[in-house]
């Protein structure tokens, strides 16, 4: 079967604005894939850990004992 367009599909994005009770902006952010940020080629460029620290340009190593 012929492929109509290999590039087609669903692409989802999200963003948010957090305001206090007076309407002042406290914070803005994005809604991203499982704490992972990727570039246009799918390469991981950053992730945010559960402590809300964003890690950029780093590798995750497995330090578990054998």
């Amino acid at each position: 079967m012929g492929e109509l367009d290999a590039r087609s599909g669903l692409q989802a994005t999200g963003e948010y604005v957090l305001r206090d009770k007076n309407g002042n902006i406290k914070q803005t952010g994005d809604v991203i894939e499982g704490n992972i940020e990727r570039d246009d080629k799918g390469n991981i460029i950053a992730f945010t850990d559960p402590n809300n620290i964003r890690h950029v340009d780093c590798e995750v190593e497995n330090d578990s004992p054998d």
Partner: protein, 134 residues
């Protein structure tokens, strides 16, 4: 980038063909979990009505189609959640059922950074899903 789910693809195929009585994706929910992927069907830890913090699943306030590449190629959901208590929101998703922790999840993602809310705070959440042609 937010994640379109496997269930979301299936429901979109039903909508396109009119088979299987698909329901429209009109509900938005937030949670305290993280790390959901395409194979997941619900949030990791959805904030529920029983949590009594005003952040439970709701019909999105504004639902529309907008242009990303060509006119009306993108579904858009915008909703304002108002906290009545303290809660840290870390994930969000779009659903086709009002019932909490149920229905099909179209797209899901983690908030980066997480949104720590106290009573009176509002969270304006915008989620989009483009039927991408390029």
């Amino acid at each position: 980038m937010t994640v379109p789910t496997n269930a979301g693809f299936a429901e979109m195929a039903k909508h396109a063909t009119g088979t299987g009585t698909p329901a429209a994706f009109t509900f938005i929910a937030v949670g305290e979990g993280t790390g959901q992927v395409a194979s997941d069907t619900q949030l990791a830890d959805e904030i529920l009505t029983g949590d009594s913090v005003g952040l439970e699943r709701d019909t999105a306030g504004t639902i529309s189609t907008v242009q990303t590449t060509v006119p009306d190629d993108t579904a858009s959901w915008v909703h304002v959640f108002t906290a009545t208590g303290t809660k840290t929101v870390s994930e969000a998703g779009i659903f086709n059922l009002a019932t909490e922790n149920a229905g099909d999840m179209l797209i899901v993602g983690d908030l980066s950074p997480v949104a720590a809310m106290v009573s009176g705070d509002t969270l304006t959440l915008t989620m989009k899903c483009q039927f991408k042609a390029d």
